[in-house]
Amino acid sequence: MKITVRLFATFRENREKESTIETAPGTKVEDVVRTFNIPPEDVAIIMINGRGKTLKDVLSEGDVLALFPPVGGG
């Protein structure tokens, strides 16, 4: 199945900001995060189709996954 992955802020360093990838049914957010060489513990905000999700959630065909690193300064 195909999903779209959108990366924000520092996750874009040396990576495409948006890419469509082919994954197996049952793929979890955490699996995709590892595919992009992002340590799962470095992800702060996860959205699938604009809804808040977790690393353990399973993706479906056509999903748009958005990943944000922690931004905490003031």
């Binding site: 802020a9 900001k17 513990e41 905000i45 809804r51 808040g52 931004v71 003031g74």
Partner: protein, 232 residues
């Protein structure tokens, strides 16, 4: 006849009308943090004519603040940031009721400090404290204007009680973010603070489009600004 007060706000033109100016003068805003974001936020709220500003920060200025914190200067290093903010607001406009609180915000004092305000402005630098404040605002029905920065990047959202952004934005385990590696330059706090203050003004005046149930993500390195809608 033009009064002295209206001359001060004349250049707000049709952007903020005289009636709207009155609404701002009656609004009560709490700014949590008087550092990078907070300095610019306080400056802009004071210039905009907000009548009551509570400014909270337990920290003191040090030399490493001089690259970006507009309230810091070589003469006030070692002084409390909230007290410096209070003096600055008085210098801009002595009619503003500005209450400086030289304390760190925590679960123990957050309700007492935000209780008498309509809007809480986030200028914090600790994600664990943000979580506490966001939770208190949900509980007390306060509008929380979230803002955070790291290097070239920033985020802003306007969160009312029950908004979907509340569980989404504060479901993290981290205490610090990418700012630890990237630092914070002089310009990112100004950009994010400007958006936070514009959200605050629009919320009080009930005009324009707000960042409710959405988040603006700013990437100044690549000039990419995106408003991400969060589905309810």
């Amino acid at each position: 006849m033009t009064s002295r007060r209206s001359a001060r706000y004349m250049r707000n033109g049709d952007c903020i009308t005289e009636d709207e100016q009155q609404l701002l003068s009656r609004a009560r805003v709490c700014v949590l943090g008087c550092g990078g974001l907070g300095g610019y936020i306080i400056e802009m709220l004071a210039r905009a004519g907000f009548g009551y500003l509570k400014v909270v920060d337990g920290d003191v200025f040090d030399e490493s603040n001089l690259n970006r914190q507009i309230l810091s200067n070589p003469d006030n290093l070692g002084r409390n940031k909230a007290l410096a903010a209070g003096l600055h607001v008085q210098a801009i406009n002595s009619e503003i009721n500005c209450v400086p609180i030289p304390e760190y915000i925590s679960a123990d004092n957050v309700q007492a400090h935000i209780g008498d305000c309509d809007i809480v402005m986030d200028a914090l630098d600790d994600m664990a404290v943000r979580k506490i404040v966001a939770g208190a605002c949900q509980e007390m029905g306060k509008v929380y204007i979230y803002g955070a920065i790291a290097g070239w990047y920033g985020q802003v959202a306007t969160i009312h009680s029950g908004d979907v952004t509340y569980p989404l934005l504060f479901d993290y385990h981290q205490r610090r973010g990418e700012e630890v590696r990237l630092g914070n330059p002089s310009f990112t706090p100004a950009v994010v603070a400007g958006i936070e203050v514009s959200e605050c003004v629009k919320t009080i005046l009930n005009k324009g489009k707000s960042l409710r149930n959405s988040m603006i993500s700013i990437d100044l390195l690549n000039n990419e600004v995106e408003t991400i809608k969060i589905e309810v």
